[in-house]
Symmetry: C2
């Protein structure tokens, strides 16, 4: 389909979407972002939404990744089973028309540990193609449902999901802790205190102290960051428990990756190398480019 032409890459998630017009040299020529995620769209809306993106960014070939390929999106695109590399994923693209394709997600078909991802596989492919991520090792993609992925020989070998992000959001919106943890978490002393408390590996037994401290006039400082530190700290400890020597790479939103980097540095008691932190948008765009190259 495409060799070194212009194209549009769309990261279409549950709550928002980001689209980039990419130049023949890999440069970002234009970008569009809004909150028309799959949760906000009726199932019949996709052809016209895609048309709108083309009106906005150019009448170009387009590859979509993320929840747009799920049973809640445009088309339920079958998963590619891991171990999976770009060479397995690219041929499994589902073409909605001859120049509009949806990249499949990846699944782990283990009865004792079933797992699925949609969108992260594109970021991993892109981070590897761009040279920032080695072919073997551990990579974490923070988010609503954080993924911890083992790479081997350039393939997604196995992975696991943590619901840390969603639980943190639920606690902030709907729980009795909402007054204490409303606001944005940031790395710093409050976050570090939460990560330290997470040493118990038991965040649900510590969170209530946020409320008790407030009631007793001894509030825990920077509640949002403390709660985030507790939850992310517990995740990082658990995910690294069996691979203590390994420092993971991080792909995602820079602010969220900063929190994970701080937690990993604290748990491993050594600085986190900033080169291991990869912007999620860059990784996605490069992933779509790598998939297109594979097809060329």
């Amino acid at each position: 389909m495409i060799g070194h032409e212009r194209f549009i890459a769309v990261d279409w998630g549950t709550t928002n979407r980001r689209a980039w017009r990419m130049g023949p040299d890999g440069a970002v020529e234009d970008v569009f972002e809004d909150d028309a995620g799959v949760a906000a769209l009726p199932s019949g809306a996709y052809p016209s939404e895609v048309e709108k993106l083309r009106q906005r960014l150019g009448d170009l070939p387009m590859l979509l990744g993320g929840m747009v390929g799920s049973n809640r999106g445009w088309r339920d695109v079958p998963y590619v089973a891991c171990p999976a590399a770009v060479a397995d994923i690219a041929p499994a693209i589902v073409w909605m028309d001859e120049r509009t394709g949806i990249v499949p997600g990846v699944c782990q078909n283990r009865a004792d540990a079933p797992e699925v991802m949609r969108g992260e596989e594109v970021q991993i492919i892109g981070a590897m193609a761009a040279g920032g991520l080695p072919a073997d090792g551990l990579v974490c993609l923070p988010g609503t449902h954080a993924k911890w992925v083992c790479l081997a020989g350039g393939r997604i070998e196995s992975f696991a999901t943590w619901m840390t992000g969603e639980v943190f959001a639920l606690l902030g919106r709907h729980s009795i802790l909402a007054p204490q943890i409303a606001g944005k978490a940031q790395s710093g002393s409050g976050f570090a205190a939460g990560v330290a408390q997470a040493q118990s590996g038991d965040p649900l037994g510590r969170l209530f102290r946020l409320r008790a401290g407030a009631l007793l006039g001894t509030p825990i400082a920077d509640g949002p960051s403390y709660a985030s530190g507790l939850l992310i700290g517990a995740e990082v400890r658990a995910a690294l428990a069996s691979r203590q020597g390994d420092t993971p790479y991080l792909i995602g939103r820079p602010d969220l990756c900063d929190l994970y980097a701080a937690a990993i540095a604290q748990v491993q008691d050594r600085p986190f190398d900033a080169h291991r932190q990869i912007d999620g948008g860059l990784a996605f765009r490069e992933g779509i480019r790598a998939v297109l190259k594979e097809l060329a």
Copy 2:
């Protein structure tokens, strides 16, 4: 005020209230329950609500416990600091009129581990007074915010709160797992599988498998019970981690105590003695009776 007369005991929580008319011999003569918890009542509603309870159950002295004594209830009654026994709690009752009193909650004033309870202290006092709970040991009160309490010399010595119940409810109502965990958890093989998976001490890294299994056509059996087993299993493991030999007592709703008893038995690999399981309503009524005796 009262010696061995009739009285009304009211367990007034966040989402509902239960009131009993108690006879001079300790027998329950009448009971009333509805969902007029403090979350459902405006702050000015209490005098007329109390009057309604008396019209229903009798024109008698009344002691109230639970969230009715909080800043979200009728009056913010100061906590009694632990270590606390009935002899510390009874004199601290706040009398709204000469025959309507609110029993104070108990707090743990430790800057590194602030904790509060309201209502559980009445149940603990009652379970001790009724002879089911020894003066020294460990007791767990499952619920929205489960309490694990160390007793020493008949006093509440120290305690910790787990948000297990609230997180389970949030996941069932608002999360992406709602389709998989809607319904009632029960002990059995699904619950036991969750408790077994909780050995990792890391429930937030396992829950997503409920969704992934469903998407991949290998659904985890009895999702509500599995999720409950994961969360309660992690709580029980963490709470017992530093006291492996100790078997806790349980006070609470029988269906919820059954789940905790099953998890404790599985974690400790021995049967849970049913005599250690105490009905929460009985414990509350007996607690109010013990407080009144202390005042007599």
